[in-house]
Amino acid sequence: MMELIAQNFAPIMFASLIAFLLLGYPVAFSLAANGLIFFGIGVWLAPFSEGTITLDWPLLFSMSQRLFGVMSNETLLAIPFFTFMGIVLERSGMAEDLLDTIGQLFGPIRGGLAFAVILVGALLAATTGVVAASVIAMGLISLPIMLRYGYDRRIATGVITASGTLAQIIPPSLVLIVLADQMGVSVGDMYRGALYPALILAGIYMGYVAMIAIFRPHLVPALPPDARTLGGGVTSLLVALAGAGAVGFAAHRAFYDAWGTNADVLGGLLGVVAVYIFALADRGFKLGLLSRLASQVIMVLIPPLALVFLVLGTIFIGLATPTEGGAMGAVGAMLMALAKRRLQMPLLRQALTSTLRLSSFVMFVLIGSRVFALTFYGVNGHIWVEHLLIAVPGGVYGFLTVVNIIIFILGFFIDFFEIAFIIIPLIAPVADKLGIDLIWLGVIIGMNLQTSFLTPPFGFALFYLRSVAARVPYLDRITGKNIEGIKDFRNLRGGCSVYLFASGDDCGCDRLSKDCYALSRRDHRPVHGGDHYSLFATFGRDKFGQLADFGRAQDHTLTAPI
């Protein structure tokens, strides 16, 4: 009996971990307690195990050193930095300004508002990286306009939630940082690996909207002329952009010899700065060269683009480590908020407090998982997992399928920090042995985890949209149904990704095309809210102005009949 238990110690330990976690006590401490309890039992059982259990008391004292290792981990420093940056931006009103202006720019074409939402979603993802911020801002600002001018509500809500969750996969997302840390690859490489797939995903969304605009134009109508409050004047914007492009290209040519591929980033930066200075001068000296629309677009678009450069640009050209990029982004976000006079003491304190709570629980989940791992490896649990996974039929593809299904199902119940800290360290060595590129695997898993933000009960994107949509009154008596809009996107992504997955068989080479296959196998349960939406939907310019005050305004009355 003893021998039987001792020799199957790893499966028993893993099963009991699941029971411990399901109890509902905080994950960090359940993990640690599981590790310690089984450490004690393991030392006692070691003589019966015929060498499968290699635990002894002195080993436990290596925990001090491990704790020190967790604390001095420089990669994970990026977590508080990016969190803080995201919260500051969330409250700075940047999202509102962007949505408003870009919506005006694209509004006149069919499907334009949806394009604007996707573009802004991608841009917000590259700066704030906070799903909540994007979805709330879009739900408050774009959704009422889209519905008001006759957008199909499933498309409207689907576009918003899908674009909002881009924040999970577009660098600098926390998911990618944690995955990179747990897989032992560089965060910079993980960012580089995720960038194109993420952009492709955004591109697919746009392609989908474009198809609808062509084949089902009544679902995504253009804004009527009287809704275009910034007026026309796209020509001057195009001219300005062409100018920026010319400056950027010239700079790129000039820098190319000295900087190599980094000249892309530098050239882009110069072009952007040039057009910004031009717009400032135009506005300052009242030259009237740019239309109101063009000037507004440039003024609103440049600060976030500069922030993207500050964070991602410096990381990609190797000027800064991701941690430093995060710190500079945080400082940049504070400067932006300061310029908009949104950085008051209470906001700063609140942002720091939220950051502290998040960092504290994340780091303690990591500490707990280190205690668990100490025991689990000591009872050869990793070898057990490896045998299990290698025994999966179908080799590499069998492994990928099983791993993604497991992570996908786990994503229903637990969020990605636990998955990353508990599951990834077990999977990564096996994947490495099978010759799977870890960065590619990381991007796939990141895409897979992204969907957990679209899936109940942790479907945060749905919660956020529902909670803002509920407060905004619409003409239609829409019930919880509108959330079903996501289905359109899910089906779309599923279809395309299956195709992409089937068509590529070389794991290493084109990692970008295949990574969304994981998305294909997630069914969707809509959130049922008995929400009742009443009528009155009048949203004018002043309303936007008030909405942009988000975060400090207490007085705007979205729910009041107008």
Partner: protein, 198 residues
């Protein structure tokens, strides 16, 4: 019980005070890290002491803030089953967890970290990086973090017993993810989401 509750209040106040102040360590860490990056690239000057200061500060923030996070009931749970229990059962689970999971773990870590810290203090060990910082403060932070966690776990256990006996109200009722979201939205918009979403 009265004495215990007074003790628990004292611990809570301490954790709260610490939680409210260590947030500035994160702020300092952000500024130092940005400063490091800029000075390294612009002035080609970098110092290991400043690089280490980043994680010293962040480490201090999250270690010392753990007790505060526990007090605020912000350590993440898997609540698919937990969320369905009555509040009373949840109290029992929490009490069980505090006593059986958290207290032994935190106490054991504190007990192991004490000699680890004293070692570094006695030897005056310095980081292996050239011109790095002395090591004992970092180890002292780890030790202090777990001591605080032990105290806070005791305080939480006392409060749970008091709640089960009906002696006090629940300061942090469990929120499902949906409720948490609604509160977040409220914070952002300054409106009560629950009122409109009934």
């Amino acid at each position: 019980m009265k004495i215990l509750l007074a003790l628990s209040r004292a611990v809570d106040q301490m954790s709260d005070w610490i939680g409210r102040h260590v947030i500035w360590l994160i702020f300092a860490s952000v500024l130092i890290s940005a400063g490091n990056a800029i000075s390294r690239k612009v002035f080609s000057a970098s110092s290991n002491a400043w690089l280490e200061a980043q994680w010293y500060l962040f480490g201090a923030a999250f270690m010392l803030g753990a007790a505060y996070t526990l007090k605020e009931n912000e350590h993440i749970r898997i609540d698919i089953i937990y969320g369905k229990w009555s509040r009373r059962t949840q109290h029992w689970i929490d009490l069980f967890g505090h006593v059986v999971f958290l207290l032994p773990f935190a106490a054991l870590m504190a007990w192991m970290l004490y000699p680890y810290m004293m070692d570094a203090i006695r030897s005056g060990q310095i980081s292996t990086n050239a011109s790095g910082l002395i090591i004992w403060p970092a180890r002292a932070i780890l030790f202090a973090g777990f001591v605080l966690l032990v105290l806070q776990a005791l305080s939480e256990a006392i409060k749970k017993i008091a709640m089960l006996q009906g002696l006090m109200d629940d300061p942090h009722p469990h929120q499902s993810a949906a409720e948490t979201t609604l509160i977040h939205v409220e914070e952002l918009t300054g409106q009560s989401a629950k009122d409109t979403a009934k």
